[in-house]
Amino acid sequence: MRARITKIVLFLAWLGVCGNVRAHVGSPTVFFQGLAGNYPIRVTIEPPGVVPGLAQIHVVVESGEAKTVTVRPVRWDVGVKGSPSPDTATLVPGETNLFTAQLWLMASGAYSVFVEVSGPRGDGTAIVPLNSIATQRLMMTKGLAILFAVVGSFIVVLLISVVGAAIREGRLEPGQEISPLRRRRGWYGRALAATLLSAALCLGKYWWDSVDKDYRFRRLYTPQSIQTELKPNAAGNPELELSFVPRSRLDSTPLIPDHGRLMHLFLIRDPDGGVFAHLHPNRHPQEGKDATLFTTRLPELPAGHYKLYADITHESGLTQTLTNDLTIPASPSGLAANQSLAETDDAVSLAQPTVESHINFHEGFRLGRGFPDTFEANQETRLVFHLTTVSGAEAVLEPYLGMYGHLIIENSDGTVFNHLHPLGSVSMVSQRQFAEREKAGFLANKPLDQYCTSASTELSFPYAFPKPGIYRLWLQTKTAGKILTGGFQVSIK
């Protein structure tokens, strides 16, 4: 079955759906694992590259005999009331628990797919939020371009010939000979038709270009940039100011906290990934509640060039990753470095991501990866990690930002960035927003339910690497009151 899903994902990738960005960067596929009532399910949603467009949905019911699986697209501002009746997902031939369906996403913004499973264990619903955003710029293939050019030329030449024939012979009585004058007029007609058609084609090209330009600059989603400024705070320590101008056409709803924080900021040293920081800037105290100016005390980080990713979530459920680059000088503005992290849940790792199968922390813990260091691109997999003590005893996981594990994935050129949880790539606060709007808060996954942890110390994250390259994975978890950040490196072919 996994092979089947892999084929589907590969097929979708082949279709070119894997575009630029979702809430995360360069990794648009939505992964979810959770409960629909009494049924553990895994859901993969491939959002369309353009809007309106078709989303491909695959649902695996991991246990319990599901009789029917239905899916329904729900837009944030109309809810279930403004949604069509659910579509029944079809069982993939030869499979017993893999269902597939397609759904149209007609407008940009925050959507969710309500997955309803029915069977002997009763009925259950899971909410899978996703962003409906145009992320793909489809280029015409050479073969198709040649085909269109050939057929188009045929049509143009045919019309010119028909116009010439109509002028030459159209008004002649049946059987009447064509005079030389009429033949000449036929050629004049062809010349006129060719001129007019050329002008029409030029106008058509101009029109097409203007549509394309409008799409690229107005409708195509590109990662929004966040402005940065390093400057001293009142105490004279370096402070990082971050600001952005919301794209009101995309989403004008206020920001809401995810895992208790309005912004999750990741700084990753470029190009080696040897420094990783997960910080939580707060809204500037002097700004209003809807302000988009954030600040955080910058911890002591080695000088260098950093990639910056800031995850935010809107009240609608739309999630975004804002991006920019940041250069940290050897001594920022000549200021004394901050000796401590600004927030208790901030974390910094100064270790180079490893290709080894495990990491030993000096706190006495060992983090092992349960997957190979090479993968095929677009192959759906579960990234499994084990945390133990160095001696092999089980470590007791503690909640960190409301979850037992956070996995941050970045490829070496910064074109892919994703922030996963055991629940998948969905935002839990988005899920909760959708559930509460339906007055069905019980449908939202609990922060620490069975998919956010495990009886053992195993943490599992569903994912498919969207394209070949070198990827770094930082797993963040907490045990014995300490936040542990372990970095791995894998190669995707």
Partner: protein
């Protein structure tokens, strides 16, 4: 050359008339092509209603099939006609054809074939367009324009096909062709009105754009009908056909239950949405007929030019006189019944509100300057219509 009295019914006043030919009626393919092209505007209105009511569709939904039937049937019929006239020519029929790339067929058949190719070409282009820019973000897009041009060409081809027969048939053997000429003109007017649907909602009928668009688009086929038809009050009949087809759809479509299949649903409708009530085109069309019958019998460059100005002014004035007050009525409570279907054309993606019963773009209301621009546009189009109509009325092949 033989005199007209030598011509038997159904024969041609041509160099081949001396041959012994039997009297023939309007050939079957003229009926087939003319009737088939009527599928296009009806299918298009059905398709619009489908998109507003159900939303979700495929290439093979019934409305699409109807539209493409309006292109493929005439295309195949005319393709057959060309092959027949090229490889198995009938002396009488093949004499009334033109030659293109060594093949022979009536001009109308060639245009129908060209239109069918355009329609077929638009399908994969539109599919690529949806994948590149999203599904029908705009109704008026390059592939839709290619489709529309294909449908126009097919309908004009059908008109040419029957017109050439009408123009060369004996007087007592052309009644069917006379009717089909009007029918084809009615199809063309219906097609144009579908294309300008977004610009001609009752809410837009106090705006300058509505009058500008109508004056540029609508007089063309009404005047052509009046010039080429051998039936009196041709433009009036054509406009009546357009209105009756539109009204029939207004009354029939809402009889069918429909539920939106796409989100977001802002307007939870339960039945197919009807199109807006037709323009009262019969009034300006009557004006056109009146002028054409009194001043348009004789032809000439300057005479036609003066006539075009008069037609432009008349069309604008009469359209304004009827649509301005009628749009007030259509936005009022009085129109909300099964006959007029006022305020009923909104689809599931429309957020209903006061805007539905208000005039739009109050800052672009019709004024003196925009009236002059609309009249000028109408006059230019009328002049083109007269020129094209003159040519059409002499087409014999």
């Amino acid at each position: 050359m033989s005199s007209q009295t030598d011509v038997l019914p159904g024969q041609f006043a041509t160099p081949v008339q001396s041959r012994v030919v039997k009297a023939v009626g309007l050939p079957w393919y003229c009926y087939a092509v003319a009737l088939a092209v009527a599928c296009v505007p009806i299918g298009a209105l059905w398709d619009i209603s489908w998109h507003l009511s159900i939303g979700r569709d495929s290439f093979w939904n019934p409305a699409h099939v109807m539209i493409y039937t309006g292109g493929t049937i005439p295309g195949f019929v005319c393709g057959w006609l060309v092959l027949k006239n090229t490889f198995w020519p009938d002396l009488l029929e093949s004499a009334a054809t033109v030659r293109v790339w060594g093949f022979r067929g009536p001009i109308g058949a060639w245009l129908v074939i060209w239109g069918a190719f355009m329609m077929l070409f638009s399908a994969p282009f539109d599919n690529w367009w949806h994948n590149a820019y999203g599904l029908d973000v705009q109704i008026i897009s390059p592939p839709h324009t290619i489709l529309a041009l294909g449908t126009y060409a097919t309908a004009i081809g059908a008109l040419l096909l029957v017109l050439s027969w009408q123009n060369r048939a004996a007087a007592d053997n052309r009644v069917a062709a006379n009717i089909l000429v009007l029918f084809a003109c009615g199809v063309l007017v219906s097609q144009v009105t579908v294309f300008i649907t977004e610009k001609s909602y009752p809410n837009a009928q106090h705006g300058e754009e509505f009058y500008g668009v109508c004056c540029r688009m609508l007089p063309l086929y009404l005047i052509i009908a009046a010039r080429v038809s051998q039936i009196k009050w041709a433009a009036t009949w054509v406009s009546l056909m357009y209105m009756l087809v539109r009204m029939a759809l207004i009354w029939i479509l809402p009889l069918f239950p429909a539920h939106p299949k796409l989100a977001p649903i802002y307007n939870p409708i339960t039945h197919m949405a009807p199109p807006p009530f037709p323009l009262l085109l019969v009034v300006p069309a009557f004006g056109i007929d009146l002028i054409m019958q009194t001043l348009g019998r004789q032809r000439g460059f300057w005479r036609d030019t003066g006539l075009a100005v008069l037609l432009g002014v008349t069309f604008f004035t009469l359209l304004l006189a009827v649509q301005w007050p009628f749009s007030n009525f259509m936005l009022s409570e009085a129109s909300r019944n099964a006959f007029f279907a006022g305020n009923a054309m909104w689809g599931y993606p429309d957020r209903l509100g006061d805007w539905c019963t208000q005039f739009w773009e109050s800052d672009k209301q019709l004024g003196l300057r925009s009236s002059m621009v609309a009249i000028a546009g109408g006059a230019v189009v009328s002049r083109i219509a007269l020129w094209f109509g003159n040519w059409l009325s002499e087409v014999k092949r």
